[in-house]
């Protein structure tokens, strides 16, 4: 059977005006902090994004003080829709706890005007940690 595509059709995403996109936050010895947005990516109105990966890691560095929750997470807000956490990890920091935690998400497509964010929070007192949260993907014409 012969398959014929319309003239000019581009079937591979990377051939549709593709552009690599990414954002990240990596910091050491971050003290306890309130919920903070570290980066945001919003797909343009005429574009989509194939998220290749979204990774989060927390490495505790100082476990002093009373223990409490630390989080490093990705947040997805569909255009006009409700936000949801799409990838993340929670860890108890402080109280002598030293443990590394990581999570990973692959294969999500952002539609036009969908927003992906990276956030961190540490509600402990006196603890500190290193944080890594980043995404990489391919943006292409919708």
């Amino acid at each position: 059977m012969r398959i014929v595509y319309p003239a000019g059709a581009r079937n591979d995403l990377y051939d549709r005006n593709g552009a690599s996109k990414g954002a990240g936050f990596a910091a050491n010895a971050v003290a306890s902090h309130a919920d903070t947005q570290r980066w945001s990516y919003t797909a343009p109105a005429s574009r989509k994004l194939l998220v290749g990966s979204l990774s989060t890691t927390i490495n505790p560095q100082n476990a002093g003080g009373p223990a409490n929750l630390a989080q490093c997470y990705g947040r997805l807000t569909p255009s006009g829709g409700a936000a949801t956490t799409c990838c993340g990890l929670a860890l108890t920091l402080g109280g002598g706890v030293i443990a590394t935690s990581a999570s990973h998400l692959q294969g999500m497509i952002l539609m036009p005007n969908d927003q992906l964010e990276g956030r961190t929070v540490d509600l402990s007192t006196g603890a500190s940690a290193s944080y890594f949260i980043a995404f990489a993907g391919l943006e292409f014409d919708a």
Binding site: A27, A34, S40, A45, P112, N113, T125
Partner: protein, 103 residues
Amino acid sequence: MRIRVKLKRSAEGLWFVDLPTFAMVPGSVEPVIDELTTPDGVLAVADQTDSRLQRLSCMVEVPDDYIDERTGKPSRVTLRLLHRGHPRWGLGNSTDPDIDLQL
């Protein structure tokens, strides 16, 4: 392009930057206020409603095409075009992003 913008607090208690796409530069939060902030953000134990926190800013990386060459600031017209239809940034009658470089 790297610019300094306000770090704002949402009703749900999130410290955020009012731009569709950006990446915060680690250690760039200013001013550092004893018992309230560090270079990486607002301390969890701080009074989140302290009036001194209204002056917070941070450095961010934004796409070059956000910037109006005449003003050196993100262009609201460009944001509306890039994100037309978006309920926050893409509507003609939406609240303009409160972008203040004079910090």
